[in-house]
Every structure is written in C-alpha cells, then in structure tokens.
C-alpha cells in the first residue's frame, strides 16, 4: 500500500493531565479540515531532534466527527526511545510537525451485539475515540479502565463526558483485584472484547477469553508500546549492498531508514504486515502480531518494524 502524502500539523495546545501525561492537540498547518479519522485509528509523528529523526505512533483520542483537530495523549516513559521525552520537553504550541495520515488497525466490529472495552493505563487512548462512535451508533457497551491509584481521578475525568450509567468503571485496585474471568463470563452472546494496554494485560484478556470459549474473531487487541529494544546487532542489506548497525533502543526499520534505504512500512507496530522482508541468513527474534506461528518458526521473513536479530547478525534481501 502506498502511503498518502503526510499531513503538516501545528500544535494547537498542550494540556498536562497528570505529571507524566500530556494531551497534544493538532490542527492542519495550512488551514482547512483534517480527513475524517477512523475510530480506533492512530497516527505516526515524525519527530526531529537535531540530527535524530524519530517516528512514533500514537492513538487518536478524538472521534471521527472531529475534523478541526486531532488529539493524542502521550505518557512520558522512563525507558523512552526518545519520542515521548521529546514531545513532553521540547514541543511547544505553534510548532509544526509531520504526521502520517491516520491508520486503522483496531476498528469497532459492525456486527457486535455489545462492545466490552478494557484499557490499562495509557491504553485508554483508542477507547476514548470509540466512545463517541459507539454513542452515535446507539451501541451497547461496557468499559473498564485499569489505573494506578493516583491516576484514577485522571482517567475518571477523561471518561466523565461519556459516563451516563454503570457502563464505565475505573479500577484502581490493581489487576489482581479485577475479576477478569467473571467479567468475560457474564457477557451476552455476540459481545466483542477490545483490549489496549501493557502486554501482560492484553495477554491476560485474550488468554482468558479464549479459555472461556470466545471465538477468535470477537477478541481484539491493539499492539501498544511493544517494541522495547534489545541487544545491538548488525543488519546486512544484500541488495542495497550496505550494512547498518541497529542500536539498543532503535528498531531495525529505523536503522534501515537512517541509512537512506526506502523500506516498506505502514503501522510500525507489528500488526499490518507491510514491512515483511525476506531473511537470507541469521536467526530472528519475532515480536510481531502478524506472522503465523509456522512463518515465525520458518525464520524466512522478518517484520522490520518490531522484530530483531537473535544474534549478532541478520542478512536481509533488501
């Protein structure tokens, strides 16, 4: 798939929601309106910090009917690859950034009888864009947000505009106190579950739902903050005739792009399959959600956006 021309966006305002959470609101830098964004969609920002170029994906929290602005919420992460640190400390209102057009990999199911949304921490972001869309559809839903105790009021404020009954709950008691199996067990037939948050939470929801007999097609998760780096390695790009060093906090895709090679990519989060690249030599540490177990075991392809070498060297047909 070809990438559409990126959007030029101006930072309209920045609101601190909590010590480590900021909401950034963007408007089109050259006037007009943004394209209608997909519910559950995300955008990729190109962040230029001196000579360093970072590309980070963030869920849009603004709904499809909002086209004057796109909003994201960014958590300042201690182990940041630099993107959230840059946004929190160096970006100011009026700055113009490059933003790839919104992409949807986490849509609401049209045929769901009910939507069950489960968020963990910053994983609330795509759920915030679902809420107005579900209201517009008149859809039945239930939302459970897990948070640390001190952030419970923050998330309650974010969810307040949509909380009209018992269908929205923020849980501050930790995951052990959250009766996931009970929640999943009492859902009516035809319910779809959506989860976004830390890997452990997403694994718990998908694993519990599967164990309770939920059909695979009714379980949806967004990949969020999965790529956490690893040991450095060397990638040999056989067709391009060059070698690149992949650093500890850098992805293979970022290293390839930094070397000036145009590599295919779309979601940059291990979900869409666009960046699948043939492997000639070397063992792959697969971290994506796209390849089948057989394809991963075969070791003949790698998704450069999230996966890495399991060893010092990877030779790619690129």
């Amino acid at each position: 798939m070809t990438a559409g021309a990126p959007l030029q966006v101006r930072v309209r305002d920045i609101v601190e929601l909590a010590p480590s959470l900021k909401r950034f609101s963007f408007e089109p830098a050259h006037g007009g309106l943004f394209p209608t964004p997909p519910a559950g969609g995300h955008v990729m920002l190109t962040l230029r910090d001196g000579a360093r170029v970072m590309k980070n994906a963030y869920s849009l929290v603004s709904p499809p009917m909002e086209r004057a602005r796109y909003d994201i919420i960014v958590r300042l992460v201690a182990q940041s690859r630099g993107g959230s640190d840059f946004l929190h400390r160096k970006v100011a209102p009026g700055d113009v950034l490059e933003m790839a057009r919104p992409v949807s990999l986490f849509p609401l199911a049209s045929s769901a009888k009910k939507h069950l949304l489960i968020g963990g921490g910053i994983g609330i972001t795509p759920l915030l864009s679902f809420l107005p869309e579900m209201k517009a559809r008149g859809a039945r839903f239930e939302l459970h947000q897990l948070a640390t105790g001190e952030e419970v009021p923050v998330f309650e404020r974010l969810l307040a505009p949509y909380a009209t009954g018992e269908e929205i709950r923020v849980h501050g008691g930790g995951r052990a106190a959250f009766d996931l199996a009970g929640l999943l067990s009492r859902q009516p037939l035809g319910t779809h579950v959506y989860v976004c948050g830390p890997h452990a939470l997403m694994d718990a929801v998908t694993g519990t739902a599967a164990a309770l007999g939920w059909p695979r097609g009714k379980i949806h998760k967004e990949s969020f903050g999965g790529a956490t780096g690893g040991l450095p390695f060397r990638a040999v790009l056989r067709r391009s005739g060059i070698e690149v060093e992949v650093g500890e906090t850098q992805t293979l895709l970022e290293a390839i792009e930094a070397a000036g090679v145009a590599a295919p990519c779309l979601c940059r989060g291990g979900a869409c399959g666009e960046c699948v690249t043939p492997v000639i030599e070397g063992e792959v540490d697969h971290r994506d959600d796209f390849l089948s177990a057989e394809e991963k075991a075969g070791g003949k392809v790698v998704m450069t956006c999230v996966s890495r070498a399991r060893g010092p060297r990877l030779v790619l047909d690129l």
């Binding site: 798939m1 070809t2 990438a3 559409g4 394209p35 209608t36 964004p37 997909p38 519910a39 969609g41 499809p64 009917m65 057009r101 919104p102 992409v103 949807s104 849509p107 609401l108 199911a109 049209s110 045929s111 869309e133 517009a136 559809r137 097609g217 779309l266 869409c272 399959g273 666009e274």
Partner: protein
C-alpha cells in the same frame, strides 16, 4: 470544459444513448497490452491518469442525468436492487459523507455541501435537489443515507464489512451490473461472491487481492478496470432481467455489429471508510460501441488482438461466444498489424471517421 448533459437518452427499448467525441476519448479503455489475463491489477486511485475518466474521485460525465433516471426506473420495478444489512448503518453515513464531499470538491458547478455542525445542506443542481438533513439521523432523509446518495451517483456501489479476516458484501446499490445479482450475493464472503470467475482462483488472484484489501487504509483508495461486452447500450444486464436482454445476443449481424456491440468497462474503486471500517466498492460502468472504439486506431488494433487471443474460458464466462466472431470479422480488416504503445491512453485527441 462544462459537460453538456443529455437527460433524455435511454438505456433500454429505444436505446438513444450516444457518445460525443469528447466522451469517446475519455473512455477508460481496459487493455494496457495486446493480450488479456486475470491479475491483481489494483493501483492507487490518484487523480490524473491516462484519460479524463480518472480526474475525479467519482466520475461524472454527459450521461449523468439519464443514468440517474434509469436507476430510478430500475428501483421502481425492483426495489431489492438496493439493500443494506442493518449492521452497516455507520458505513451508510461514511458513504454519504465521502460521495457528497468528493462530488462537491470535484464538481463545484454542479454540487455543493454546506455544514452547520450536524446540520448539512446538499445541493445537486443537475437533478434539481436541495436537501437539508441532520448527519447521523436517517429519519431526516427521504430514504436511507446509502440509497439517498447512490441514487445521485453514476455506477453501482457495494459495501463490504470486514470481519474474521475476510470481506462480506453486506450492502449495495446495483442497477447497472454485468450479470450478477445483489439479492443472490448479499452476505457472501470474498471468495464466495467471486466463486464463478474462471482461472483466477487457481492463480491465487483472490487470495492476494483479499490480503491487499484487508490492509486498505483510509484516504488511500485503490482502483482497477474490469470489462465485458454487452449487446445494445443497456445498463441493467441483471440475472433478474435475463429474459429481457439475453435474446439480444442472437440479434448481432455483420451489418449491425459495430453499433450494437459495446465494450463494457467497469472503473472499480475501493475506499476504506473511517467510522465503520467498511470498504465502499464503486463499480462505475462505461459503454462504448465497437464503432466508436474503431475511431481510435490504437484501441481498435488492441481490441481485435485481445478478443482474437482471449482464453476460451474467459470468453465463455463473459458471455461472448455468440457474437465474438462477428466482432472479430469487423475488426480484423481495421487492424493493420502496427505495434501499439503500452497503457490504455488513446494516443490521439482526434477521432478517425
């Protein structure tokens, strides 16, 4: 250039449909090479392209008013030509938004859309329509939002829901179809509704096309051309009406072949929709008679060669065997054997004859 609409022309009975010289030259001729075989011939739907038919998101031409009237007639006779399953309501509004905004942007002289929050006002000057409504409230329109807007667009449309890593045709407005039935296909999965196509399944065309379409993204529409041949400029060649148009195939003679037989091209466009994550599939039908094709030297040479060498299974699937030889006998003397350029552009701005 302002299009001169021809509101009175007909696509049945009297068949007064005719093409102006400009309309012939803007035809999206479907063959980029002198031979034809199925492939995943999908490309980005970007403005511009080899003929003027590719300059807008949803193309409007001189037949616009007459085609909308023909659609109205078909729907009156058979309301089931437009059906949308209930879970596709978000996709209906997505479609209305996309088509209205595209038409208003591409043809400001004919269409306008103004918004005050959710209160929208749509003006369609060629059809003399002025409609205010509330976006998201179906009861403020005279019919469902998908039916409402596709009654005002040329070509058929279907809505595909995406679930379980597949696409399902869960809605459509189908009145200008090449012998397929929405009533029969509605609810089918991608491989089910493509079931009858010969050769392409074995080549893996549908597996690859489905993978590609599952990844289709908002704002990055794609397109492909498909084709068949139709006797008389009849838009509604539906299975439901086969008794009406089937016998036409036996009416082709060496004397009338050039005017009677039409190359039928579908400019197919695919749009990912934002609220629903559905895909809007546009199937825009263009009809050009063999006589009009023969006025473009490159096109008449190529049509002759493609038809001459066409795989018999494809010819049979497209319903050509009864008149293919008659068309070839007409075109063969017009093919001087000269090489043709790659691509579908007419390579001329003047018509012969």
């Amino acid at each position: 250039m302002t299009v001169q609409f021809k509101p009175a022309e007909t696509f049945r009975d009297t068949f007064t449909y005719r093409k102006s010289p400009e309309d012939i030259l803007r035809f999206p001729f479907p063959f980029p090479e002198d031979e034809y075989m199925y492939s995943v011939n999908i490309e980005p739907h970007v403005r511009g392209g080899p003929t003027a038919a590719f300059q807008a998101a949803f193309d409007i031409d001189e037949h616009y008013i007459a085609e909308c009237r023909e659609r109205e007639r078909v729907l009156k006779e058979d309301p089931k030509r437009c059906q949308v399953l209930p879970h596709m309501m978000a996709a209906e509004w997505d479609s209305l938004e996309l088509i209205m905004e595209s038409l208003a942007q591409d043809y400001p002289e004919h269409f306008s859309l103004t918004k005050a929050g959710d209160l929208w006002t749509w003006v369609n000057r060629p059809l003399n329509i002025h409609q205010s409504f509330t976006f998201g409230k179906a009861e403020t329109l005279p019919c469902g939002p998908f039916e409402y807007i596709t009654r005002q667009a040329q070509g058929d449309f279907t809505l595909q829901d995406q679930r379980d890593d597949n696409l399902f045709v869960d809605g459509g407005m189908v009145t200008t179809q090449a012998d397929w039935s929405l009533e029969f296909d509605i609810g089918m999965s991608f491989h089910e509704w493509h079931g009858p196509v010969p050769l392409a399944h074995e080549k893996g065309v549908f597996d690859r096309a489905l993978k590609y379409l599952l990844r289709l993204q908002c704002g990055q529409p794609v397109r492909r051309l498909n084709w068949t041949m139709t006797v008389n400029p009849r838009l509604d060649t539906s299975p439901e009406n086969y008794p009406v148009w089937g016998p036409d195939k036996a009416s082709v003679t060496p004397d009338n072949v050039a005017e009677k037989v039409h190359l039928r091209v579908e400019l197919q466009t695919l749009y990912r929709l934002p609220r629903s994550n559905a895909i809007l599939f546009g199937i825009r039908c263009y009809l050009t008679s063999v006589a009009d094709i023969a006025r473009v030297p490159k096109w008449r040479r190529r049509l002759h060669r493609v038809l001459r060498d066409l795989h018999p299974d494809i010819a049979a699937y497209k319903g050509l065997p009864r008149f293919r030889q008659t068309v070839l006998d007409y075109l063969a003397p017009l093919d001087d054997g000269e090489p043709t350029s790659k691509g579908i552009a007419p390579d001329t701005d003047v018509l012969a004859g």
